[in-house]
Symmetry: C2
Subunit: 104 residues, 2 copies
Amino acid sequence: MPPFERHLFICTNVRPPGHAKGCCSEKGSEAVREAFKERVAKLGLKGSVRANAAGCLDACEHGISVVVYPENVWYGRVTLQDVDEIVEEHLVNGRPVERLRIFK
Amino acid sequence: MPPFERHLFICTNVRPPGHAKGCCSEKGSEAVREAFKERVAKLGLKGSVRANAAGCLDACEHGISVVVYPENVWYGRVTLQDVDEIVEEHLVNGRPVERLRIFK
């Protein structure tokens, strides 16, 4: 089945409450990852796009962090409200969502 | 800090015992991921190489599955014994380990 045309990794790392770095999980990354997964399935992109959970992507201060490979496009402060735009603009139409990009 | 020169994702997905697809976790993928992490740190590659845990990479029949981005090089049936070779040959010297590659 793989390689995928676009392979998303959403940080779902969990740190203990009160940890100085915080974590993407406490910002709601599991729900974000579910939303990506559902949207991808709904648009019939299964097989060409995959939305994976991942451990800490080392971009904690920008969390919720998402990376799209093989393009190497990174997104920060991704919320549930951003999922449809990323899927439709970037994953379907090939135009990364500039306002959410980090590490450009 | 990111983007990384090479970003590894090691499937650490867990399925219930007896599941028809099996899972990379029951094949020892957590230990493989730890070994990658330690080797990367020991060789001073932290910052340029990252070894992340990931959910199911949809390559279950080839597990333990590993993908290296942005190159999009996939490895299957990775064992603890393969970690040093992948790190030294591929991640340091830039030569993917052909005998372990899948989806070429």
